[in-house]
Symmetry: C2
Subunit: 203 residues, 2 copies
């Protein structure tokens, strides 16, 4: 386990990396949709290489993992679904309900495409795995996916989506959760059921 | 449907965008792992904004979709799992067997993290959805995921992985496929079963 991150340092790093990561999300989208002249594309490539050189001047040899802060916060900045510093993450902004439910509104553009104009079925699975899992997390006690079953009942168009999950039943070691993706017309496009396991603390 | 892309143009665009996208993949990783000085991070951010400005000088208003080439090729450059121009895609390089099987070797680093040091369960789902679906695709007849069931039987560490899928049964309109993720020790970490539907051609 890493040393806790000083809470002020964490706030400073967030102010530095959050807009940077947002710019990289935009860049990912533009690399797919660009129709720029060759010279512009080559020059953009050079600039990106320069940026990588600067960011790579000092790097951790480890993935980000999960870190704590001195004021009791938990940093999941590298997480592929919710990570503030992970440009792959839309990011999902998970809102927890008092009843143990979890929800997120998310807008998915060109980088999440599978079938033309539609969200890749595997991205729907990623969103649902994360949001169902979020109902099972306890502070300091991450839950791992045991099984996940997805039913694709209607096409999921790129654009605005809502992802929801609720706890169906739970015990000390596991949570059974259900959830769905809903499009702007209120149509449920994917339904999910998952079993999430909380490993026993090592004694 | 878009006009077919001239085959020479497609080859030229690939030579331009393939290395660019690879640089953006590297950039995504560095944004997560960087420990560079503030000044370097800010300067990198400026360079990325400049690159985005250049790439954004002319853009398609549409996601990439699936395009054909004048020599009969199919371009899926925007696809989130396999897209040459999609920096989110590892990309999966799917190899099709003569028996209808599909396989890919892939290396997943920090950007695909969920639990510390491990691949996010939802990314495993994305890989498996794609590779199982690949057994069901027919030229010009994409298959959509109907249902997908995943069993997470062992932790999937970040690093080298093999993803495999086989056809279990099939009819004209659907394919039932099974598959798995295997780690470098030969341990199967995730098992999957999926039903993939080929929509009837519109007449």
């Amino acid at each position: 386990m890493n040393q806790p991150v000083d809470a002020d340092d964490a706030r400073h790093l967030e102010s530095l990396y959050s807009p940077l990561t947002q710019s990289v999300r935009n860049l990912i989208d533009l690399v797919i949709r660009s129709e720029a002249d060759d010279d512009n594309v080559k020059q953009a490539h050079d600039l990106i290489e320069q940026a990588a050189h600067l960011l790579g001047s000092q790097v951790s040899s480890e993935p980000f993992g999960v870190r704590t802060t001195t004021d009791g916060g938990i940093l999941t900045w590298g997480n592929v679904a919710i990570g503030m510093r992970n440009a792959i993450a839309p990011p999902l902004q998970v809102v927890h309900g008092q009843d143990g439910s979890a929800a997120a509104d998310v807008t998915l553009g060109a980088p999440y495409e599978g079938p033309p104009g539609h969200v890749h079925g595997g991205v729907c699975a990623l969103l649902l795995d994360h949001i169902l899992g979020a109902t099972a997390h306890r502070p300091g006690k991450p839950a791992f996916t045991g099984t996940l079953t997805l039913r694709y009942v209607a096409p999921t168009r790129l654009g605005d989506l809502r992802v929801n999950a609720w706890v169906e039943s739970e015990s000390e070691s596991k949570t059974i959760a259900v959830g769905q993706i809903t499009d702007p017309d209120g149509v449920v496009t994917v339904q999910a059921e998952g079993i999430f396991i909380r490993p026993k603390a090592k004694s």
